[in-house]
Amino acid sequence: MSRPVTPPVRAEFVLPPSSPSAARAPAGASLPARRVLELPAVRKVALLAVLAALWEAVARWQGNDLLLPGFLQTATAFAQGIASGELLQRVAASLAVLAQGYAVGVAAALLLTAIAVLTRPGRELLETCTAMFNPLPAIALLPLAMLWLGLGNASLVFVIVHAVLWPLALSTYSGFRAVPETLRMAGRNYGLTGLGFVASILLPAALPAILSGLKIAWAFAWRTLIAAELVFGAASGKGGLGWYIFQNRNELYTDKVFAGLAAVILIGFAVDHAIFATLEKATVRRWNMQH
């Protein structure tokens, strides 16, 4: 056995109650240059610059701008497209169709999931339909849409609705089901039932899942639209961004093809970072609901 250790008996002391002062230490100002390099946005731009330089180098080494125009050539074509208004017009045409399809798809998805959480046949319908249609690429329905609705915006809207509806319905529904039981009971305690219950409790409580569903649905819709426009687009007169890419490839304006692709990417990036990030900051991140 080891020797028993006895701690010394110390005097007690009591301090006067302290006022709740600033518990946080003042943030130390570090070197500005260091801090700028740590910013995620700056790091991303730097990475993009490196990739653009690589691209330009490969293009120059390869030396055939029919096959691979360089970064500067693409940038020039892009700037010219913007200046002449052609590219902007095509973007506007695409976004107009997209907005229609997206709006219809979102409304249909919310309606379908609301019915699904309120009624049993609705739930069975939703589960069966999402299981069937979610794996089906929306673009595969384009031939059928063209047969039924002709060569026009209606066919494009049809495939976009399909691209939006199922993934959004799926994530909204799983968001609804993940709403805590206590919160549901609190809502029912106030006498909320039916659509009022969905609108006041389920919809806001499932917002994180709905927002990520909206994001996925937007990406699906955008790529489906561009793909569909590659098939046709002249019928509407001006045509959208996909048609712009297709046309310029036929005429071997490869730099314009690249400019069109750049526009597709930039718009996707802008929507994700401007619209969805702002929405998230104003809602689920403010409420600390992101998981």
Partner: protein
């Protein structure tokens, strides 16, 4: 049974459980949560349902709230059978997620006033502000739930329920998820709120001490399935007498009843009453 003298002026019970049997499960297997439970809650009561896990106390509260239909028997409020949830029986839960995270403290308290009571916005705001001040959170009106501590969240839930001035408040172990120091303060605050407002409370707990402190009358339930074991008075015990001999004796008596210990179980330290359920 205590023989009851029927007189014209005798107060009528507000909330009544009449031979309530509650069951869970489907066709294959049913679990009986409570069997033939009856009790009367009078206006101004702080009525506590006390028992170990499995005695069906939370299920009884849920049934009183209208969230669970009895397999037999019924709950009545002012003589009318309770069928579905309603704002005349507001619940306060143990879980912190009972507060919608997308609403500020003020909006949370206003929510039922607008939705269930249909008050105009201005009146709802005033009333909500009043109750938030009563629970001492006026500086946090515009805070979101995630910015509050657990005790503050429970205070908001209590203010939200009190602001509705419903016929009876149903509380399902509202302080069980709090730390011991906060829990004691919340118990004291609840009782002092009751002294000022005199609402009717149906309170579920598994802590003998909490039952004696918060309750004015205690229904003891034995588990598997939940049956009534005793109904005791506890209005005489206050926070001042927590360590007193009478308080300890009351704790011990309840523990003996709940665990079917022989009366005055030979426990020299007198710790029987402190057994955690």
């Amino acid at each position: 049974m205590i023989p009851r003298l029927v007189r014209a002026a005798e107060p009528q019970p507000l909330l009544r459980a009449e031979n309530v049997t509650l069951e869970y499960g489907g066709r294959a297997s049913t679990v009986r949560a409570t069997e033939d439970v009856s009790f009367d809650v009078y206006e101004g009561d702080r009525f506590v349902l006390l028992g170990a896990s499995g005695c069906g106390k939370s299920s009884l509260l849920r049934a009183a709230g209208g969230f669970l239909a009895p397999a037999s028997g019924r709950f009545t409020l002012d003589g009318a059978t309770i069928g579905k949830p309603g704002p005349d029986r507001l619940m306060v839960f143990q879980e912190f997620d009972q507060l919608p995270p997308w609403k500020t403290v003020l909006q949370n308290v206003m929510f039922p006033l607008l939705k269930a009571r249909g008050l105009p916005r201005k009146e709802a705001t005033e009333r909500a502000r009043h109750w938030i001040a009563r629970i001492g959170l006026e500086r946090f009106e515009d805070a979101f739930p995630h910015q509050l501590s657990g005790g503050m969240k429970q205070r908001v839930a209590i203010a939200r329920a009190l602001a509705m001035q419903s016929r009876v408040l149903l509380m399902d172990e509202p302080f069980a998820a709090l730390d011991a120091l906060t829990r004691r303060r919340m118990q004291e605050e609840l009782v002092s709120l009751w002294q000022e407002e005199c609402f009717t409370l149906l309170f579920v707990t598994h802590s003998i001490e909490e039952a004696l402190l918060v309750g004015s009358r205690i229904l003891l339930l034995s588990p598997h399935p939940g049956r009534v074991r005793a109904e005791l008075n506890s209005h005489q015990y206050g926070f001042a007498g927590i360590g007193s001999t009478e308080f300890r004796a009351a704790e011990r008596r309840i523990a003996e009843l709940l665990f079917d210990l022989p009366p005055e179980a030979q426990d020299s330290t007198g710790r029987a009453g402190r057994i955690a359920l």
